[in-house]
Symmetry: C2
Subunit: 163 residues, 2 copies
């Protein structure tokens, strides 16, 4: 797959990440998806599976990263771009830095838990080992709509339950 | 196992976490160990296996947490104490918060990457979902000695290699 501009490329791969988020939605999971790309090739995909796996670390980004570690048989994946439909939390941001991901593109901000400026801003801290390029807001409305719909439906089903 | 004081309890379980760190040392991994305790019972153990598994997320804390999720078949583990020989990084701190761990006890600070006040201080941020009790410095010298010895030996073997 070739693209004329970086913007075209970002829109295309964020579209794939949104399809992953839709899978999570259909499985009654918080709808977040992630895609890892090397050059113009998808290396790994992931969607949130916290409830299905009963694993608090099974965020979309973490599952995509661990797939990529297996694919390359390496915990360093320095030439990859990660497309994620939601601003990563501190856990995922830490894993993205630790694995030397080159560039992170996300769609919607996570105003409660996001680690790229919403809850905290880990990516702007001068990290001793690695800095990640960041670009937010690609297909933001589409991702935010999916999340909003999910939580509205959850609240309608279980009005008194808090997570 | 019963203890007269919290200090005695912390020393005992940090001793077990150091045994986990020693396992990592023997496997040529950065020597960090973790133990998860409920009341006075060990629920899960972990030691750093990043190199063996070629997985940047395979930190001691993450492996202990995922064992505990399996044990309880739940991603929420709210009544547990985590003993770790090194101040957790941002990834592990995020996972500790996400899984609702009650209390974190650590040994040595990680001045480059620690997320409890060294690199950043995630635990003092008012988190929207959960606050973790923190206690640092238990068996700090023992843990720091093990780490220092590991890195000295690494540098002696590979003087020009940077991680």
């Amino acid at each position: 797959m070739e693209f004329l501009t970086q913007e075209d490329k970002d829109l295309y791969y964020m579209g794939l990440a949104l399809r992953e988020a839709q899978k999570a939605f259909e499985e009654d999971e918080v709808p977040v998806g992630a895609i890892l790309v090397q050059d113009n090739r998808v290396i790994a995909k992931g969607h949130n599976q916290v409830e299905m796996l009963q694993d608090a670390t099974a965020h979309a980004e973490m599952l995509a990263l661990t797939s990529a570690f297996s694919y390359f048989n390496s915990w360093r994946i320095p030439n990859l771009e990660l497309y994620c439909t939601l601003e990563p939390c501190t856990m995922c941001a830490g894993a993205i830095i630790a694995s030397r991901v080159k560039r992170l593109v996300y769609a919607a901000p996570d105003i409660r838990l996001g680690a790229c400026g919403s809850f905290v801003d880990l990516m702007s801290e001068k990290h001793p080992m690695h800095q990640v390029e960041i670009h937010g807001g690609v297909l933001e409305e589409e991702s935010a709509f999916l999340l909003k719909t999910f939580f509205q439906q959850k609240r309608a089903k279980c009005p008194q339950k808090n997570s």
